[in-house]
Symmetry: C2
Subunit: 195 residues, 2 copies
DNA sequence: TATTTGTCTGACTAAAATGTCAAACAAATA
DNA sequence: TATTTGTTTGACATTTTAGTCAGACAAATA
């Protein structure tokens, strides 16, 4: 007989993603996930064999998803500056839906058992570097190693959101204020990156 | 009788710090730490009562240590630009000794059980903001919210080191090359922050 | 030296989490 | 409808990890 699609497999993956990336419970157990999904814990073994296998799968799919979303922007035919603006927006939306995703990824990547999937080289990066160089030649952006432009872009967007709880406390600002600050940062980042 | 200082308590703390921050083993067990320190696992209970208590203590001491080191720079009487340069250097040295410390902190802060210690407000921050404003008025740095200047400073330094394994792979660069890139970033960051 | 007392250890207990399996259940199909 | 087969469940077993405790050990000191 063919495989029956009861939606359970997807439900478990979605629930795991929610728990990890939206709720920030990095050390969730299989029981936690099963409870949240409303299924018996053993279905996780049925569909994914082991906890580890589920975790690895969810991680890989999350990485691929992010990559796809960002590549789509990088490979589009927008003019350079508009592309960067869109890139920032997409990044912000992603981090709004899954505030802990980035942090989770970093933990995983930095962990011992982690092995980087082979296909991590983005095909979108190479041509984007060319565009950066062009923009530099045209005096649109400050001259530096194109790699540093990309690093700066990621850094300026992601870091404040990663360390959000720390900074919110250090600077004694409430949620709404922080949100507003982040919106202002979007503009500021552009002004910083472009001349 | 007085407490005998056998150095074991400190040894355990140092070992835990090494395992967490230098080796990146975030999920180390008490057995792992005891083995690495060359003591029986139960001494951890003897000195720290529970695993949780040890973890909390190590975390707090690490936070305090970082804070002290950075505050020292911020409160010094150097001229503004030199202060920022020194700040960047200190940050780099710290992240060189304990590459995973920042990542560990972020995980912890983002975790459920985490409660922020009360005394997190740095007395050094207030006067530093004043200095930033002055530098802006003097046209030394780009005009923006002083808070954004600080966020940018942290972001540009820390993020690439946090995501090091990811970027190293994505960009296919070996260790030495990455190290060199980070050194170049120091200069680039200054050029970006100062006019 | 004898005693006290802080330090350390190994054996045991307890708790938490993962994995296995037989059987129940339900959807497809003969 | 009867049978097949994919799905789901609960009971049980295993593994992993943390905590307790009595006693061994060793440094201080009376």
């Amino acid at each position: 007989m063919a495989i029956r699609d009861t939606g359970t497999e997807q439900l478990i993956k979605d629930t795991a993603m929610r728990i990890f990336f939206a709720e920030g419970k990095f050390n969730a157990t299989t029981q936690d996930i099963a409870d949240a999904a409303g299924v018996a814990r053993t279905v996780i073994n049925y569909y994914f064999r082991s906890k580890d296998a589920l975790f690895k799968l969810v991680f890989k799919e999350a990485m691929d998803d992010t990559k796809r979303r960002l590549d789509e922007v990088l490979l589009s035919s927008m003019p350079f500056k508009k592309k960067v603006v869109t890139f920032i927006d997409v990044f912000f939306i992603e981090l709004n839906k899954y505030p802990y995703k980035e942090s989770f990824m970093i933990s995983e990547i930095n962990s011992q058992s982690f092995v980087m999937p082979d296909d991590r080289h983005s095909a979108a990066l190479e041509p984007f570097f060319k565009e950066i160089k062009q923009a530099m030649d045209m005096g649109e952006v400050r001259k530096m190693l194109p790699i540093n432009f990309v690093l700066n872009l990621f850094s300026l967007i992601a870091y404040p959101l990663l360390t959000r709880p720390l900074f919110k406390h250090m600077l004694e600002i409430p949620d709404a204020k922080f949100e507003q600050l982040m919106q202002e940062r979007k503009k500021m980042i552009l002004e910083l990156l472009f001349i």
